[in-house]
């Protein structure tokens, strides 16, 4: 086939393993994707974070050629998702939202099958299968039919199968949903190793903590749109800046203290929370935390004694709430 010529918008990004521009996808009356732009540099991890029905799976399916976009374009590993599907598939690995393993085959046969379908040489398939079974702690169960596996084992096998072809770009759609905390932590560890070896990863999740732990950059998706993108720190500061928290010794003076802090922060204070029983004040300020010095001076001048003082960034939960107006799913630690 002749060169298709430069594709406007997606060709000009050097070193990006995944580039998407203006992806739209409609299912009947549902606009599942409403103009999604993504960019994932080689060797990095993008966390696609969003609630149920946000469009995460639809985005993954388009990027892995399972669905065609209605509008927009995308390249993965340099290949166009519409025009170079075959080359693209040879460069990627996918573990979908539901473990796509065959119940009646053994773990070993499942990985072997995927290896054959990647057209790998027979002896390489055998070697890879052994390695992956080992890595995912499935050696003992390798020759049992998968229907005897637990949910966590199936997930691990599914992830193992997606790695047989040593993909340059890996897509994991909610890899830890439904796992208990232990299995989740184990899987995080394996994913971290993969990334350390240079695999580019696009990971979808509903868990803020997961995105925070695994991803270099996070794209928050809601109702088919990317509503925020950046590192976890950028997102946090974009939304809330810093939270300055003070505790006063004399609880009766807590309101006085709150007024003083807000006054010192001047226009930068965006949100104030007062806990009278505890004698605590939390003020969210835009920008950096330099205001803290002024806060300390001011309280000292007014003779308000401090019991405690801290500055911290808002959590991703705060970010999600601020962006979507809804509380996020329970974080990984609380689920299970």
């Amino acid at each position: 086939m002749w060169s298709t010529g430069p594709v406007s918008g997606v060709d000009d990004v050097d070193g990006a393993a995944i580039v998407a521009r203006g992806l739209k996808k409609r299912f009947g009356s549902v606009l599942a994707l409403d103009g999604v732009d993504l960019e994932v540099p080689r060797g990095t991890v993008l966390g696609l974070l969003g609630p149920n029905g946000a469009g995460k799976t639809t985005a993954v399916k388009i990027l892995t050629t399972l669905l065609l976009p209605d509008e927009g374009e995308a390249r993965v590993a340099g290949f166009d998702v519409v025009r170079q599907q075959e080359e693209l598939r040879a460069a990627i690995g996918l573990a979908g939202q539901y473990a796509a393993v065959d119940e009646h085959l053994t773990g070993r046969e499942n990985i072997d099958l995927v290896g054959r379908l990647y057209h790998l040489p027979r002896d390489e398939i055998r070697r890879r299968t052994g390695e992956l079974l080992e890595r995912f702690d499935l050696v003992g169960a390798a020759d049992r039919p998968v229907k005897t596996y637990s949910g966590g084992m199936r997930r691990r096998l599914d992830l193992g199968a997606s790695l047989v072809g040593r993909p340059q770009v890996l897509f994991l759609d909610e890899p830890t949903t439904g796992l208990d905390i232990r299995s989740r932590l184990d899987l995080w560890e394996v994913i971290r190793q993969l990334v350390a070896e240079g695999t580019t990863l696009l990971l979808t999740t509903q868990y803020l903590e997961e995105a925070d732990v695994l991803a270099d950059r996070i794209a928050v998706i809601d109702r088919g749109k990317v509503i925020a993108e950046g590192t976890a720190d950028e997102l946090k500061s974009h939304v809330g800046g810093e939270v300055v928290e003070v505790a006063v010794r004399d609880r009766s003076r807590v309101r006085e203290a709150a007024a003083a802090v807000v006054e010192v922060a001047a226009g930068a204070a965006t949100q104030t929370q007062i806990d009278e029983a505890e004698g605590r004040v939390a003020v969210t300020v835009r920008g950096d935390a330099s205001v803290v010095v002024d806060v300390v001076r001011r309280l000292d001048r007014e003779g308000i004694e401090l019991a405690d003082l801290s500055v911290h960034k808002p959590t991703l939960d705060d970010v999600f709430l601020a962006l979507t107006g809804r509380v996020a799913e329970p974080t990984a630690g609380q689920a299970a």
């Binding site: 050629t65 009646h104 990647y118 057209h119």
Partner: protein
């Protein structure tokens, strides 16, 4: 592009995967054999006496019946193609396959081929049982093998109809019950169990054109003896007509939905 050799290797990999299921769940083969065996016994002993009078002289009912039951068996067996595809689709396995650099044709080819292999196993088992109760081939090894080939080829062609339906419905139970809606009338309004001349005229015209009748007739000619050219041509015409219609339809539907 995947070369034909790679495409064949992919189809074989999928075929193997499907057949492993039948080996691990042997009940699937056992029960798909029990049903036609019950038909053989039921018709041979319960209706055999009544039907006998309508048969050509010196033809045993069991010899008339077995070719029909073989066709019925491969047709029923072919309904599993749609069921299997619907199952793979609901379990997300087809999504995994489609994300791999394998030949697009392999999932459908592998499924229809493995169902043909399964049909072969069931037909062989059935013919053995038939032999125990008196079924005999009156021609020779070669015609008998051609008959087997026609039966399996017809099952293969019917698998593509079933695949189309399974891919349209995309639900295991619905695919299962939907197949009986069209399979039952086709099987019973045919020469599978009784000679056509016992039927009322309007039904005879339908049954005469019915592909199942034509395939059963070809197999009878090849196992009972008599002129084979015409029935064989009719059977092969139906077989190819079904294949050239439904293989592209199923393929198109697969690309659309899977």
């Amino acid at each position: 592009m995947t070369t034909p050799a790679l495409a064949a290797a992919d189809a074989m990999a999928i075929t193997r995967r499907n057949l492993i299921k039948y080996l691990r769940v042997p009940n699937l083969i056992v029960f798909s054999t029990v049903q036609p065996v019950m038909f053989v016994l039921l018709f041979a002993y319960v209706f055999g006496g009544a039907i006998k009078g309508a048969l050509p002289p010196r033809v045993h009912y069991i010899d008339f019946l077995m070719p029909g039951i073989v066709v019925q068996t491969v047709v029923f067996g072919s309904t599993q193609t749609g069921v299997g595809l619907a199952e793979d689709m609901t379990k997300g396995i087809i999504d995994r396959f489609r994300s791999l650099p394998m030949a697009r044709s392999a999932v459908l080819a592998g499924r229809t081929i493995s169902d043909t292999v399964r049909n072969l196993a069931v037909v062989v088992l059935m013919v053995l049982v038939g032999t125990l109760i008196g079924f005999r081939i009156h021609t020779g090894v070669l015609p008998a093998l051609v008959a087997l080939g026609v039966a399996l080829g017809f099952g293969f062609a019917m698998s593509w109809i079933s695949a189309t339906i399974g891919l349209v419905l995309r639900d295991v139970e619905t695919a299962q019950s939907a197949s009986f809606v069209w399979i039952f009338p086709l099987v019973f309004a045919s020469s599978v169990f009784v000679p056509l001349r016992t039927m009322p005229g309007w039904l005879q015209s339908f049954a005469r054109a019915n592909p199942i009748t034509n395939v059963a007739n070809a197999i009878r000619a090849l196992t009972l003896g008599g002129a084979t050219t015409r029935p064989l041509l009719y059977a092969l015409a139906w077989l190819s007509a079904i294949l050239v219609t439904f293989a592209p339809l199923a393929t198109r539907q697969y690309r659309k939905v899977a």
